[in-house]
Symmetry: C2
Subunit: 285 residues, 2 copies
């Protein structure tokens, strides 16, 4: 009996000990600056599209303040990174860029939406025997979706300024440049991180040569870059150098461009450093 | 009457039009990879401390997998950035570092916790006439909080490996180096982003000279850096160069160090590029 009473007292003591320990520590969910997922039914693409939107906190001093917008391809890869950069770099105590809205567009069919032509050629110019490039060539339809369906939704639901940036990596990089060449009215600035110029026998380099007239006017900002994607002798780097020479040669009036080469970055890490530099270049006051 | 019926029909049409429009678009909250806020009552600091914890998604192939931990000072400034870097860089298709746990420590009294000595001298070595440095000199007590209160909570609630990194910027940078010199048993690696070596007449440079014995052994990794904080002639940069010379001179066995100078970054943008390089340096396989 004495032993039982002892055990009981001991149990109560242990219970209180654990309860007090537990009370001295509380766990909640961390609150990130909120972003939204907007689902749009696109008649043009005949599918539902999820769109990620990150807006600046509304400024109590100016609740009607409107913001430039970055439309970012491969939303599933780089939306959080870009949103984080924007939040940090636009903080009052950092203040190297203004607050902007980030619109991330995740893919449903990446090859279809983010290539300028129908082609099954691989990066060496040889026919790809898998079916992976079969659906390619949808850039034009994708741009129509952006212009007629996505942009109106964004402009009517968020406090947007007219200033728009188009940003992409790899296939997204060639899409960004293709859009500048074929629909210059859609965006004010372009970011092309490691663009896949090899696409369809360097189709886009030929298009650049054809579309960008020497001495013509194009009031845009353009950031393009590459990493160490096979070294300085690689087709990847050579194509970027070729594009850069074209841009320099053409002396397009009003085109404010920056080419950056990141020899220490590989294809999947280039976006991390490049988007940081690109945002600062485009939004430099 | 006919007019009324017409208006009514028109109203129904408009209602359906708006309703259908609305239905074609749906907005939800974007889900960031979850992080937690743990509130700990610290007896050592005699206050409650909120702690931010970001954990890798549990790996279904190995649910018992354990992870290294980065303890990050100034949690309110750089916790989201570091968490984002870790998530992206450890993705299977990027894979330049392993998955790790990020523990962000936001400040309650930054000057108290993140300075090694009691001093009211400003960066020019002159007495500061405001009260801002009055509470300084609490590094030792802060380290005790980390060791005796915070680390046990983290280790008992999360799947931690013993490998620990201590990371800080500015005052956090000197705290990181001070901890390496005075409590080398606490961490395996140190990140000091733009450390404020000017503190208390370069107290920490003197301590480094004294504590790091030539040819002694210290099996640690150490990353330190500075930006353009007043130019190459500034006391800030000179102090970093002096620290770097000490590290090179002492030839400490087992100390794997990297000094990076970022001339294009200012004091508040250095962390963005430095934490990226530091994580890759420390977790390079």
């Amino acid at each position: 009996m004495k032993l039982l009473a002892y055990s009981f007292r001991w149990l109560i003591f242990m219970f209180l000990f654990v309860a007090l320990q537990a009370r001295s520590q509380k766990t909640e969910t961390y609150k990130y600056p909120p972003s939204e997922v907007v689902t749009i039914h696109s008649k043009i693409l005949n599918e539902n599209r999820k769109i990620y939107v990150h807006c600046p906190k509304s400024d109590s001093a100016d609740i009607n303040k409107r913001f430039p917008v970055v439309y970012l391809m491969d939303g599933e890869n780089h939306f959080e990174l870009l949103s984080q950069y924007v939040d940090y770099l636009s903080r009052p105590d950092v203040s190297v860029m203004p607050k902007i809205i980030v619109v991330g567009i995740p893919n449903t069919n990446r090859v279809r939406d983010l290539t300028p032509t129908q082609s099954i050629l691989d990066y060496e110019g040889k026919p790809d025997t898998t079916a992976r490039y079969k659906s390619s060539g949808g850039n034009e339809v994708f741009f129509e979706f952006l212009k007629k369906e996505l942009m109106p939704v964004i402009d009517s639901n968020y406090k947007t300024q007219p200033y728009k940036v188009f940003a992409g990596h790899s296939f997204g990089g060639i899409s960004s440049i293709n859009c500048m060449l074929t629909h210059p009215e859609m965006f004010d600035a372009y970011i092309a991180v490691s663009p896949s110029f090899w696409w369809d026998n360097e189709y886009l380099l030929k298009l650049t040569e054809k579309k960008l007239k020497s001495g013509s006017t194009l009031n845009k900002k353009l950031f393009y870059c590459d990493g160490n994607e096979g070294g300085s002798d690689s087709f990847f780097h050579k194509a970027l150098v070729k594009f850069d020479s074209l841009i320099v040669e053409k002396k397009v009036v009003g085109l404010n461009y920056l080419y950056k080469h990141y020899p220490n970055e590989m294809h999947m890490t280039v976006p991390v450093v490049a988007y940081l530099d690109a945002l600062r270049f485009i939004f430099k006051e």
